[in-house]
């Protein structure tokens, strides 16, 4: 049949929810059982519209109805008639329809997105999640252990690991529930993986940054610690959200990125009186001596390096004095 066509009934996300093959032209659309395409939409007339095949392609004729319809947002009242190109969406009542004919070029078959595969075939090998969990727990234990003095009992040790683990599981479960709501998929493994990866990376940064900063005596490197925290938090949020709303990845990235930048700006704004906008005033890490890679300098050169503080300190001291005077004048 030359005029082979299908009408797609779209859901709220614009995806095809149901599909009807057009067996004959013209074709009536309405709520009445006698219509060729019966739609269960209370906002439709019994016979709401009729679809014709003409030389120029499909054409929609509006029949007598209360609500009429829209062609790509353009109003169609009763009696109106309009060509229905394949790209256009027609809304009748609350139902949105799209037309696809044999004349339209058929898009190539698209590769399957991993999220659309059966859940069993996961993004990572089966051992990855347990291995990550073990690494995560080990690092947690190591962190706790490094702060003990040998007097702690196994109860302390276990609870020190279980409490954060519990928090991580609750966090994951919440995200899995959200995914369940939006995608009908209790994506526990996917979210747990994301939470573990990001927190592990943050912990490693937390360990590595001070070591590098100390080795080369680059105290300023610690600025990345606070950056890493907000950046890591933002990435984690986005990564979770991308599972829930895979089609909105880019918008999510923008929104979460903007929030992270705003948070950072607030942090910096609070610290403008400090020497540094980020990071503490001095590097407090004191790893074992083997880590140090630079040679110490003589006392005199250290003392003369204090000189460069004088000008900025004087400037900072005068700043508030000026403000005081200004407010005094205002009164």
């Amino acid at each position: 049949m030359d005029h082979a066509a299908v009408i797609e009934i779209l859901d709220r996300d614009g995806r095809c929810e149901d599909l009807l093959k057009v067996h004959q032209w013209p074709l009536t659309i309405g709520r009445s059982p006698s219509a060729d395409l019966v739609l269960p939409d209370p906002h439709l007339a019994g016979a709401h519209a009729r679809l014709h095949w003409t030389e120029q392609g499909a054409r929609l004729e509006m029949l007598e109805s209360l609500n009429g319809g829209w062609l790509d947002g353009q109003r169609l009242t009763a009696g109106a008639s309009a060509a229905w190109p394949s790209a256009a969406t027609v809304q009748l009542g609350t139902t949105r329809l799209r037309l696809r004919t044999a004349l339209d070029p058929l898009p190539d078959e698209r590769p399957l997105a991993r999220g659309d595969e059966p859940v069993r075939r996961d993004a990572r090998p089966a051992w990855a999640l347990p291995a990550m969990l073990v690494a995560w727990l080990f690092l947690l234990w190591l962190t706790n252990w490094s702060l003990t003095d040998g007097s702690s009992t196994w109860v302390d040790t276990v609870s020190g690991v279980l409490v954060p683990l519990g928090l991580a599981l609750v966090w994951t479960a919440v995200w899995a529930l959200i995914t369940q709501v939006f995608r009908h998929w209790f994506a526990f493994g996917a979210h747990l993986w994301r939470a573990l990866v990001v927190s592990l990376v943050l912990q490693l940064v937390d360990v590595a940054l001070p070591l590098v900063a100390y080795a080369f005596s680059w105290g300023r490197l610690m600025a990345f610690e606070s950056l890493a925290l907000s950046l890591g938090g933002a990435v984690l949020l986005w990564w979770h959200a991308a599972v829930v709303w895979p089609r909105a990845r880019r918008r999510l990235a923008l929104a979460i990125g903007a929030m992270a930048v705003l948070g950072l700006a607030l942090t910096v704004g609070r610290r403008t009186e400090q020497q540094y906008w980020l990071a503490p005033s001095y590097l407090s890490a004191l790893p074992p001596p083997a880590v140090r890679l630079v040679d110490p300098q003589p006392v005199d050169s250290f003392v003369s390096s204090m000189e460069r503080l004088q000008a900025p300190l004087q400037k900072q001291a005068r700043k508030r004095n000026d403000q005081d005077q200004m407010s005094g004048d205002d009164e």
């Binding site: 009186e273 001095y282 890490a285 004191l286 040679d295 003392v303 003369s304 004087q314 508030r320």
Partner: protein, 512 residues
């Protein structure tokens, strides 16, 4: 010191202020309990040490800062929170006349009667209400009055907001002008303004100073006068106990009860000659009070007797005096060689105890994990600038850590945490936030060190800085020594000199 009197006086007016007082007292008691526990453990035989009088007063009145310090590290044994309190009040009604003459010794009665006309209460008024009260006394026929700087500091720093007024034991009153201050000794020179007849009566027989060539002997009876807590003028008998030991500036130790509101009042000998000026008491101790020696007041008078009243805020004057004071203090300190803490590996600089007091503490001998011993040395003298700002002192803390039971990894974590704990202060009204420089430092033949030098600039006292130097040894995986040197209110060149001096104090115990 006088901040306590502020609390007291405020109590009379606003209900909110009385809450403040109620809060203050239990906190102060709590602090005292802590201080004493710490002390008795650390040095059972020591007399209640306590910060210098003035500093101690700060601990009790400026509660906000005190607890922060106390909580900073567990074994805060050294400077206990004791302290002197200023003194001050008068009552308009004060018809003091002896209702119970038999309870007053003959001398006290005689001396009070003689000094009565020269005694006055100094009141600092804000919008007509008294913001703080102290005492003072007339020393010249021209109407010069001596009191404490801390009694008039609000007026000195913000003359357009705070006015000075005096009132006499008979309830008469008039204005006061600020002529000069000696902030280092906490003294102020004022001048009476008001009804000529009243002034004539008050200046008829100004109080004389006891000549410097007639020193008092320990145990002599002296008599302190003033108006405690704005209740009524009082005369308090006590004993001269010589000078406070290990004090940079001489301060008389007086065994007598001085109370807030009496600050700036005279202390006279049996002949009615001024030997000192009430300045502070030590909190949570019995009858431990401190007097500025009368000679300093005499010197201030001699220096500025002919001066015109100060115009505008006294910041420039304070700056000048603080500059001179820190110059003298730092020169003196730099001339002293360091002592060393008793440590098998490192020589750790500890100051001489000429005008600093050192207190030692350590983790329990059977403690598991990180072992620590600490020596904390501090000047107990501090210069009062305002209630929020006391400055002009030095302190040194040395802590030796041994983590051989912990291993390198755990030691490094816990030692880092201790290094991170150091408080450097933040930006406030008086000072900027700390600006630091840091690096590895090593002297020839000395151990490698990690050094951090942080400075805060004073906003109003331009050219003065607080400097904190943190130093730690970085040559051993399970051992470390953490030193901290603090100087408050020094010039920039002196801050660098002190930093160099301190860093040079670190060495190996046995040269290698």
């Amino acid at each position: 010191m006088f901040s306590l009197s502020t609390v007291f006086t405020a109590h009379r007016g606003a209900a909110s202020a009385s809450t403040a007082q109620k809060v203050l007292v239990p906190m102060a008691l709590l602090l005292a309990a802590l201080a004493f526990t710490g002390l008795s453990r650390a040095a059972p035989a020591a007399p209640a040490s306590a910060d210098k009088p003035r500093a101690a007063a700060v601990a009790a009145t400026g509660m906000a800062s005190a607890p922060a310090v106390a909580s900073s590290q567990a074994a805060q044994a050294a400077p206990a929170a004791a302290g002197p309190v200023p003194l001050a009040p008068s009552a308009a009604s004060a018809q003091l006349p002896e209702r119970h003459p038999t309870q007053v010794s003959a001398s006290a009665r005689r001396l009070y009667e003689r000094a009565r006309a020269q005694l006055l209460q100094v009141r600092t008024l804000l919008n007509g209400s008294q913001a703080s009260v102290g005492s003072g006394f007339v020393v010249t026929a021209e109407g010069h009055v001596i009191t404490n700087y801390h009694v008039v500091s609000q007026h000195a720093l913000e003359p357009e907001r705070y006015r000075l007024q005096f009132s006499t034991p008979d309830g008469e009153s008039g204005e006061l002008q600020l002529i000069d201050v000696d902030v280092r000794r906490d003294l102020a020179l004022l001048r009476l303004v008001g009804d000529p007849a009243l002034l004539r009566r008050m200046t008829a027989a100004p109080l004389p100073f006891r000549p410097a060539d007639q020193p008092l002997a320990k145990g002599e009876r002296i008599y302190s006068m003033g108006n405690p807590h704005d209740v009524a003028f009082a005369v308090v008998e006590g004993t001269y106990n010589g000078l406070v030991e290990r004090s940079f500036d001489p301060l008389i130790y007086y065994s007598g009860s001085i109370n807030p509101g009496m600050s700036g009042g005279p202390v006279v000998d049996e002949d009615g000659e001024v030997v000192g000026v009430n300045v502070s008491t030590m909190f949570f101790s019995q009858q431990m009070s401190f007097l500025v020696p009368g000679g300093h007041a005499g010197a201030l008078l001699a220096r500025s007797r002919a001066a015109a009243p100060l115009k505008g805020p006294a910041w420039p004057r304070l700056r000048e005096q603080m500059m001179a004071y820190q110059e003298e203090l730092v020169r003196n300190f730099l001339a002293q060689p360091w002592r060393s803490l008793d440590h098998p590996r490192y020589r750790l600089p500890v100051p001489q105890e000429q005008y600093m007091r050192c207190w030692g503490s350590a983790s329990p001998a059977d403690a598991q994990g990180l072992q620590m011993q600490r020596t904390q040395c501090r000047m107990e003298q501090a210069v009062f600038i305002s209630e929020e700002l006391q400055t002009g002192y030095l302190s040194v803390t040395e802590e030796a850590y041994d983590g051989s039971q912990l291993g390198a990894l755990r030691f490094s974590r816990q030692y880092s945490a201790s290094f991170r704990n150091e408080r450097l202060g933040g930006a406030d009204r008086d000072r900027t936030a700390p600006y630091c420089t840091e690096d590895f430092v090593q002297q020839k033949d000395g151990p490698p060190l990690r050094a951090v030098a942080c400075l805060r600039a004073y906003r109003k006292l331009e050219g003065l800085y607080d400097v904190s130097v943190l130093v730690t040894n970085v040559d051993a995986p399970t051992q470390g020594a953490l030193g901290r040197f603090d100087a408050r209110g020094v010039s920039f060149p002196n801050a660098t000199r002190l930093t160099r001096h301190y860093l040079q104090g670190f060495a190996w115990t046995t040269p290698r």
